[in-house]
């Protein structure tokens, strides 16, 4: 998906997309599962960043879709009203399906199946053993990037190696952020062919 499409989804969630484009997007939600999943995840991230995950904020997208259908502003602060409003739009089958799937994706993502767990080593009631890899839908999307004035410095592969090696010596508090930085470095890395190294090829 293009960056333009990502921006469209982002603008739609923020209620900043023109009506015509919103209508186009809604039609796309009907037939494009990836677009729905992407929108759901954007909503989750936005809610997380605004500390709105507590409560029923996964409804943000649903409210947004409902608002787009009626041409009203999303009732972000009026959750009960939004629910009532939504009830009237259920007959709108196509969009309803899209919204439901999107919301289900969000709810699935944040299905907090928390168990009562004690401190390590202490008495605890835990979730059942994880029997197999949870077949979660493979979320795949690109978070819309904000324009930043900060200079982007492309880290060399060598730097990645250093950071990876360093992470093993980092405190446990810092290891997760360090690994997140490596995993999230994305396309900033230059071609790996520039690195002199002992190589082998998997699967040969």
């Amino acid at each position: 998906m293009t960056e333009q499409f990502n921006d469209q989804i982002s603008a739609f969630i923020d209620d900043e997309l023109p009506d015509e484009e919103s209508a186009f997007l809604l039609r796309r939600f009907e037939r494009d599962a990836d677009a729905r999943s992407r929108a759901a995840r954007y909503t989750m991230i936005g809610a997380a960043l605004r500390d709105e995950l507590v409560g029923s904020d996964p409804e943000i997208l649903r409210r947004r879709i409902a608002a787009a259908l009626t041409g009203t502003a999303p009732a972000a602060q009026q959750r009960p009203a939004a629910r009532v409003q939504w009830r009237y739009f259920r007959p709108v089958v196509g969009v309803g399906i899209a919204a439901t799937v999107a919301v289900a994706a969000i709810v699935g993502l944040r299905a907090v199946n928390f168990a009562r767990v004690g401190a390590p080593g202490g008495a605890a009631t835990l979730n059942a053993p994880l029997q197999a890899r949870t077949p979660e839908p493979p979320p795949s999307y690109v978070v819309p990037r904000e324009v930043s004035d900060a200079p982007v410095i492309a880290p060399a592969v060598r730097l990645t190696n250093y950071v990876m090696h360093h992470s093993e010596y980092a405190s446990r508090l810092n290891r997760l952020p360090v690994h997140s930085n490596v995993v999230g470095a994305g396309e900033l890395l230059p071609p790996v062919e520039t690195v002199p190294a002992k190589r082998e090829t998997a699967g040969e």
Binding site: E168, Y169, V183, G184, A185, L189
Partner: protein
């Protein structure tokens, strides 16, 4: 004669206040200890958002502890879908966008190193610990713990620790002005009594990928003649060794300085190595690096600390 209330006695009041402060600091240290054990010893899987410089990325972690051994998979749910898989001290970084696997297996992780994050009272001359209110994160009750740096050579932390498990459900890395440098926020987390080994397996088909691994080693020198001549207060040398690093033909001399919370690695390249790291500052997320050439050796300091710290340490390197 009117009797003076016991609480009206100034010396007693000061003493009580000091005892209260000490008890609070002790409780804060206890939370840090619990957190330290929780992130390593619990079985959990969760999704979290990593926010840095206005960019947000979603990642998933599966952490398994079985028979005293730790394994973990972290995968990016965005973009290229990179993965890091760790089995004890063997770390595999899969870069599908480059069709490359980076392998790291530090052989110098002595008990000293595994004891690195010791949240003892030694950190307190350099960080102020403060327990704040209770708050809700990801629908769970958390205890907020602030770790405030006492100078500009280290970052501070605001941690939202799950009240039951002490897992950090939200953490902010803060600069000395209190501005947020980086944020991690769990949007969901599940704890399990057990996690099967196959849950940690790579989800990416790496057939045909190039693996960059440290060269088979030769004898690694135990004596490293280099030391940083100037380190910010509280940073102590924890490790001085030769390391084999993926992508390097020659061993790299490696020093680790830690203040008990933050660590800085200094890598000193063999003079024969053609280094790809450019001189000056660079960074990978919130991890800062500073490189320079000293006596024909490329020196790079890397750490989750402010820029001036990596520069101070790298620039002061001297041969003993």
């Amino acid at each position: 004669m009117r009797r003076r209330s016991i609480l009206g006695h100034p010396v007693l009041l000061v003493t009580l206040a000091l005892v209260a402060v000490d008890a609070s600091a002790q409780e804060a240290r206890s939370w840090l200890d619990k957190m330290n054990r929780a992130v390593e010893e619990l079985n959990y899987q969760g999704t979290f958002v990593h926010v840095l410089e206005g960019n947000a990325e979603t990642l998933r972690i599966i952490h398994r502890r079985e028979g005293g051994r730790t394994s973990e998979r972290i995968e990016s749910l965005d973009g290229a879908g990179r993965e890091i898989i760790r089995h004890d001290n063997q770390v595999q970084c899969i870069l599908p966008d480059r069709r490359v696997i980076l392998l790291e297996e530090p052989k110098d992780l002595s008990p000293l190193v595994s004891a690195l994050p010791s949240y003892s009272d030694e950190i307190e001359p350099h960080y102020a610990l403060d327990l704040h209110a209770i708050a809700r994160v990801a629908n769970r009750t958390t205890q907020i713990l602030e770790i405030k740096p006492r100078d500009a050579f280290r970052y501070g932390y605001m941690l939202w620790l799950d009240q039951e498990t002490a897992m950090p459900l939200k953490s902010q890395l803060l600069d000395d002005q209190g501005a947020i440098v980086e944020q991690i926020l769990f949007t969901s987390i599940d704890f399990h009594s057990q996690i099967p080994a196959q849950a940690i397996a790579a989800t990416i088909d790496t057939t045909g990928f190039t693996t960059l691994r440290p060269p088979e080693s030769s004898q690694l020198a135990a004596d490293i003649p280099w030391r940083a001549g100037k380190v910010p207060g509280g940073f102590k040398l924890s490790v001085a060794t030769q390391s084999q690093i993926a992508g390097s033909e020659y061993p790299v001399e490696h020093l680790v300085y830690s203040d008990g919370l933050a660590t800085v690695s200094v890598f000193i390249e063999d003079p024969h190595t053609r280094s790809e790291v450019s001189e000056g500052f660079s960074k990978m997320g919130s991890t800062n690096a500073f490189s320079l050439t000293l006596r024909g050796r490329k020196v790079t300091a890397v750490g989750e600390v402010p820029r001036q710290t990596v520069r101070t340490i790298a620039s002061s390197l001297v041969a003993e």
